[in-house]
Symmetry: C2
Subunit: 392 residues, 2 copies
């Protein structure tokens, strides 16, 4: 049978390629091309264009973050980075006569809030950790859970580690929360959570664990396009009125996970972390659900969220209320309270001010400061460093 | 806690929006806009462009499949369809001064083979069947299974129906195969399988069933970007040498499903169908694995695949060999052998010729002819019609 099918398939491939609508036509241009020395060439066919530029986060923070491509005789524009790029997952777009567009030769694209950018990974450290390697892979499921508090079915992304389905053992659970521009897809797509966890587990650096990525916008049931209540993606996740907060409805998520997965149901086997808004959720939820989480991670957010609101009376009063909760949290005990922030993050001062308050009450946190700011590069690094510390 | 967090989140949303890199900037343009009468407006900001066009499958097959947008004073180009569009899932791209690009205001994009197009759904029939509605939702999992025949772990997409996780009942299994340009993502993304199954099940039109969508290119372990053996997407799925054929390795998939899911393990509860190359796989596999499938669907492919190879001797000989297998399949019995093809499909004549051969041996098939050709519009329709006939 094999030979017959290979023949027939080859024939079909050729014929279908001819039969394709023009809209699906393959661009005979390779872009981006990552060379052996980690320089990268971007290419774009645009014979009628006057100017083609590329912009992206692969340019150093201090460099002009845009470069012009040069046109060859076939109308293909090209730009090669003058230096090798450090290993990383990068995003970029082309600008063709002033219009931003994705690279038509690169099907790898990731949405961030309301925009979609072309992406590529330069190998090495940490890029290899964000890549699919030849290691056992976990399962990523998009499911729906019932939230009695929010009175609806809500979408959730769940990573189960390699071997979960064919074992009888119970696992610890790591709740991983997105930021204001994200949803239940953010940590899987931009965060590369499945790849990072697969690789860390394969290297023996992280314990096998279940990673639960809910949608932190309680006014939405799911990511844009994934629910019947559709909306345009935006920072803050749309403008509907939420029935209840992420904090008050979080018990529904724990209840769902603990009745649907083989998990260890105690504080020593629960972790919660999040970035930006999700970091504020994590500090609030870990304080509100007492004796529930032994591991807390606050990425790029002030643990005392009102420390950002400046000196207004209401904010100060609420900060004091929250400090009282932190005192209880400290008294109840936990194993790790990990705060991470980039030193150019626009929330940096709020983080510093929060920690000053926490020092005053002897709150037992660990602080990790990185370079740069409020970007996914940092959040992938924080995840890669935080996950290995869990459940040890 | 709620008020505090809402305040803080609102603050964060504003601040982060300002802090965003320019690359993530939101286009303040709504496109596409589907009006109440189902006319659709496309918009694109391109103040420096000389010409902006839109092309896509929403143009009738007989019309010129391209239209020019008109520029307003703000540099926003606009085109509204002169007539309401029939309900459907449509794909389109803009052409800006000769360069194809996706709609930057629309985050809904789907990859087909090596291209990514912007998409939208016009409501009605059948668009509503392809949309996320307020009905119970199944789970979509991306998993990896072991293939001893192909000597590797391979990626697979599995839809389990609503309630699967919280029941003890066993379910029938529908194996659904993609075409030469596809992979284990194709039926979920372009095929809208999860939405179609959720909706058909909610309407009581289809039995709750598990839908298994493997990767039919045995030279690849997974979709582009999803395996360590990376490759550029292409018709035929890359150029590596396969260890074994889809047919010969299909037993590994059945074994995986039947040992990992609560399924009914008999022919009355197994169906297989596929489009194009996947249709040829389905006819070959259902003939090769005798008494395994009571339901077979061949979408847009000749059931006797060599009927396409014309009159060369080898093809005729192989066709005769396959007809002998069909005789055995007919003698073994089955409940439904459903052949569907569009009347402008480039494989149409091969389908007709196959059925002539099958008539000669009294093979008991059902034929469904639709309009148009080798396109996802037809495959979504075939899935919507085939699934309700299964396991009844």
């Amino acid at each position: 049978m094999r030979r017959l099918m290979i023949l027939a398939v080859a024939l079909l491939a050729v014929t279908v390629a001819m039969a394709q609508e023009a809209i699906w036509g393959r661009q005979a241009v390779v872009s981006p091309e990552i060379h052996d020395d980690n320089t990268v060439t971007f290419r774009m066919r645009a014979p009628k264009a006057i100017k083609v530029e590329v912009t992206g986060d692969f340019f150093g923070v201090d460099a002009p973050r845009i470069a012009e491509l040069k046109e060859n005789q076939e109308g293909v524009w090209e730009y090669t980075t003058p230096e090798p790029l450090p290993s990383e997952l990068y995003s970029y777009t082309f600008i063709v006569d002033g219009v931003r567009m994705n690279d038509p030769s690169n099907v790898m694209m990731i949405r961030d809030v309301a925009s979609v950018a072309s992406v590529f990974i330069v190998p090495g450290d940490p890029g290899d950790l964000y890549s699919v390697n030849d290691v056992p892979h976990g399962t990523v499921a998009r499911r729906w859970y019932d939230s009695p508090t929010l009175k609806e079915q809500r979408r959730i992304t769940v990573y189960t580690p390699p071997g979960y389905e064919n074992s009888k053992q119970t696992y610890p659970v790591f709740y991983l929360l997105h930021g204001s521009g994200g949803d239940e897809e953010a940590w899987i797509s931009l965060g590369r959570t499945a790849q990072i966890m697969d690789n860390l587990i394969a290297q023996g650096k992280a314990k096998p664990m279940i990673v639960v990525m809910p949608n932190g916008h309680t006014q939405n049931a799911a990511a844009p396009g994934e629910s019947s209540r559709d909306y345009l993606p935006a920072m803050g996740g749309g403008q509907r009125q939420a029935v209840a907060s992420m904090e008050d409805s979080f018990g529904d998520i724990i209840a769902f996970v603990e009745s649907n997965y083989r998990v260890k149901k105690n504080r020593a086997n629960r972790a919660i972390a999040g970035l930006s808004m999700g970091g504020m959720h994590s500090s609030a939820i870990s304080a509100q659900y007492t004796k529930t989480f032994d591991y807390v991670g606050i990425f790029s957010a002030p643990p005392i969220s009102t420390m950002r609101a400046g000196s207004n009376e209401e904010a100060v009063k609420r900060a004091e209320e929250f400090v009282n909760k932190l005192k209880t949290q400290q008294a109840n005990g936990f194993k790790l309270y990990w705060i991470a922030c980039g030193n150019t993050d626009f929330l940096y001062q709020g983080v510093i001010d929060s920690m000053k308050k926490m020092d005053e009450i002897g709150f037992n946190y660990t602080y990790r400061e990185s370079g740069e700011g409020h970007i996914w590069k940092n959040w992938r690094i924080y995840l890669s460093e935080f996950a290995p510390m869990l459940f040890q």
